[in-house]
């Protein structure tokens, strides 16, 4: 691994594919020494970020996310945009390993010189994914990509995490046997900027239209996140390349409105703030668990709570006070 931050900084700014890839690896690394270099690199690159369209895409397995990105990405590069795709694949909780197969479904985009696709294993914690993806997004912006697509499979809390780092959050759905709404979480509807019903092709068109109506009804029941934007429901066929242009127009329209009202700036500021607070919480937590005193008393106190000898509130008080009461009260 290279120790000099300027190797990474210059390489990213030159949009050198190899260096960009290595810088992402640096950011993803769990080693403290790598993290220290990474922090320098990000700080230096920060002034060069912020110009891209940040797009998040989620959907259940089988919704056709990769196929959508393949068609959508190639359409965008065809219009002269440079596209970066960051795909998050789940790691196995048992082995820790992962299968990163996104590019097998993005065959043309994978060899497109205007595109950069980086699949990443989710690794252990959600916080980890969030940090890595957010910073990788910044790298790609600094490298001059115009559109950054963050893809995540719709499980656990990963959608809301991704929604909190992008400008536009798209939920990809497919039509099924009329029970569409069971497969969508309320929390996802609340953060969606658009719902796109994919696979509206062949004998599926009618069902897709029906699903569209159901989502529209469902969306009326949630408060939109912006007074100036009601999330539309669209149908598309990534396979037959129908509805992709409309999706892009919607994203552009969203950006235009949000920029005009100043909401985009606000959103990004809010995201930066909540990101900072997230990191603070994470830092506090790490600090707590790594405190020698805590490590010493933790087993006794938890055992006492488990056996019912100590009330949880009392135990929590004692643990926190170990860190020094002046910090808390």
């Amino acid at each position: 691994m290279y120790k000099d931050p300027s190797y990474f900084i210059q390489g990213v700014l030159d949009n050198n594919r190899l260096t960009l890839a290595r810088t992402i690896t640096l950011i993803e690394s769990t080693l403290q020494t790598h993290q220290d270099i990474a922090r320098n690199v990000i700080s230096e690159l920060l002034p060069h970020t912020g110009k891209a369209v940040r797009l998040g895409i989620t959907g259940v397995p089988g919704a056709g996310k990769s196929t959508f990105i393949e068609s959508f990405g190639n359409m965008l590069t065809g219009r002269g945009y440079r596209v970066a795709v960051l795909a998050i694949d789940p790691s196995s909780t048992r082995s820790g390993g992962s299968i990163l197969g996104d590019k097998t479904r993005m065959e043309k985009l994978a060899i497109n010189d205007m595109a950069f696709i980086r699949p990443s294993p989710s690794g252990g914690s959600l916080g980890g994914v969030a940090r890595k993806t957010r910073e990788t997004m910044l790298l790609c912006e600094a490298a001059g990509f115009d559109v950054i697509i963050v893809e995540t499979v719709g499980v656990g809390q990963s959608e809301t995490t991704v929604a909190s780092m992008v400008d536009f959050f798209m939920v990809l759905q497919i039509s099924g046997a009329g029970d569409e709404l069971q497969g969508i979480k309320k929390g996802v509807l609340e953060v969606a900027d658009a719902i796109v019903v994919n696979k509206a092709d062949g004998d599926n068109v009618t069902r897709a239209k029906l699903a569209k109506k159901q989502y529209e009804t469902a969306l009326h029941l949630v408060t939109p996140s912006s007074p100036n934007w009601s999330p539309p429901v669209m149908t598309c066929s990534a396979l037959e390349e129908i509805g992709l242009e409309e999706a892009w127009e919607t994203i552009k329209q969203h950006k235009k409105i949000m920029s005009a009202t100043g909401e985009l700036d606000e959103k990004r500021k809010d995201q930066a703030m909540s990101w900072m607070w997230f990191l603070v919480k994470e830092g506090l937590e790490n600090w707590f668990y790594n405190n020698e005193e805590i490590k010493k008393v933790l087993p006794t106190i938890t055992a006492a709570v488990e056996s019912g000898k100590k009330a949880p509130t009392r135990a929590a008080d004692e643990l926190v006070s170990v860190l020094g009461s002046d910090l808390l009260f």
């Binding site: 690896t25 299968i99 197969g101 479904r105």
Partner: protein
Amino acid sequence: MAQNPNYNEWVEMATKQMKGKSPDTLTWKSPEGIDVKCLYTAADIEGMDTVGSLPGMAPYTRGPMATMYAGRPWTIRQYAGFSTAKESNAFYRRNLAAGQKGLSVAFDLATHRGYDSDNPRVAGDIGKAGVAIDSIEDMKILFDGIPLDKMSVSMTMNGAVIPILGMWIAAAEESGVKQEQLNGTIQNDILKEYLTRNTYIYPPAPSMRIVSDIMAFASKNMPRYNTISISGYHIMEAGADSVLQTAFTLADGIEYVRAAIASGMDIDTFAPRLSFFFGIGMNFFMDIAMLRAARFLWHRSMQQFNPKNPKSSMLRTHCQTSGWSLTEQDPYNNIIRTTLEAMSATLGGTQSLHTNSYDEAVCLPTDFSARIARNTQIIIQEETHTCKVADPLGGSYYIEYLTNQIVEKAQEILDEIEEIGGMSKAIESGMPKMRIEESAARRQARIDQGSDVIVGVNKYRLENEKLDFDILEVPDSVRIEQIERIKEIKSTRNEAETQACLEAITKAAEGNGNLLEVAVAAAKARATVGEISDAMEKVFGRYVATTQCVSGAYSSEYSEANAESATVIEDFRKRTENFLEKTGRRPRILVTKMGQDGHDRGIKVVASSFADLGFDVDISPMFQTPDEAAKMAIENDVHIVGASSLAAGHKTLVPELIEKLKAQGAGEIGVVAGGVIPPSDYDFLYDNGCKAIFGPGTPITTSAGKVMDLLEAQYIK
């Protein structure tokens, strides 16, 4: 019938022999999930509807012919194709002179995928796994001096069926043979290509239309021609057990029948000409039962279409011994394996058979190894007296029981597929592929931990493995010759006429014209395979497979076995975990297939089991060029690339990949290779920078261990 009166006494005896343990503890669970007891009696097959029929009579469980081999033995049909049309032609003529009755043509991968030999994408594939055909001129050389009005010609072609069949018909006509005189079979089984072998060109819907076009054309013009050979062989080779092979093959068959009926054909005009192709592996009794079960099930499945002609529901099949069961280690053992599989196929009642050559796990067959393979069948036919009786195992309690079990289990899967809406829909859903891959990963785990024995591989290994037989190698000059001929044809043909014919193909693809009909004209106008394929691709597009990969199957087979095996996995996971702690990330490997070889069982088993061991595994799309694979390795920033090769392209593709990585400053990304690579090529690959080579039969824990050795040496100082 009640249980044998002496049964209880037998149980007592057996228990005594087992030192007090019940004989039930000997029950073996087969890969199909069938509980195989150590004894079968009449009570086990009582009342089964699969028992009791006669050969030649519905439901044909005991064979499609009344006298079976007693009347006429199966046809010995060896599949072959070598580099150029000229060499293949010479080989065919030698075989015909030695008394062989039919021809079976193997094409190279470039031809399968509809590319001309001058296409840069296929530089590593020309003439490697079969004969290279670019135009009608090659086709004429291939059949030079062979009377096509008399000779039955079988062609293994699925992707580029339209140009190849068009050129064959046109070549025959130019030699004075009429369409109605042509006799033979084309594989034309596109559905299984999406499941396993990946030598398709277009998406499923237009591909199914091509199948129907060929059926329609032949039923009108070529009454003696078999338009499809529904193939389970490749499904088995991809890792399916015998129940899965039966179910998915028959489901494919039902789908073709529906497509033909939907295109307006009457069931009895085409169903009697449908033929099947099954693969026979080392599970000796199981595969005998499989063929019997498949015939029973096909008869039952066809009744829904109300055929009038009994032949419409009669399953006739070709069989081939398993190529996957052959080992690179101690390779003469393969002769014995092939013999046993041939016995299984013939006791099961196949109509024709191909026996593999012992050297096929290493290279293409030579004249010598091909002779041994052919003689295997001749010896069974002429020396063993096994042909004297029709269905000699009919009535065996065990065989009848197995037959019934396969029928029941395969029927469950067939019902499941019907519920999804037929095989095309099922393939779209990914269900069959996942089942096959899971079966493959489990098998690999059983082999790696020794519960499935392979002699010379995981038991009774030779101390010093030394290869002492000749290896057939295809020289690169083949590609140059082909390119020269394409140039010559293109410069001498009537260009305006060729272009008009190609446009007619595009028009037919857009509309409803019969594609084979226009392709015959284009072949005569000297259009190439690539040009004809492109003319259709304009309308249909080129299909890209989605690679799915199961996870967990490999390690679960291990931990189900015993605690000791489970530790192997745990220990390995600690090793990858340690790598993460020391270097900041898990070992990351890209597994890729370069060239036009679509056999992806190997990389999928590797991907799935490496992930189970704690690797992050990137999978590339199929059919990569070295350049594309290098881009992906760099972008994903992997530690190492594993390139799989099963079709003799390794000597070109692997060094080129290493070169491309170096050229882009990523020389630190190592490359290892696996698959069918002759040991005599190992030094060449090592000299060109390849870090390790894993031959067929390498246990996953061994290959993964070697990869970890390399990575630890490189990254943990």
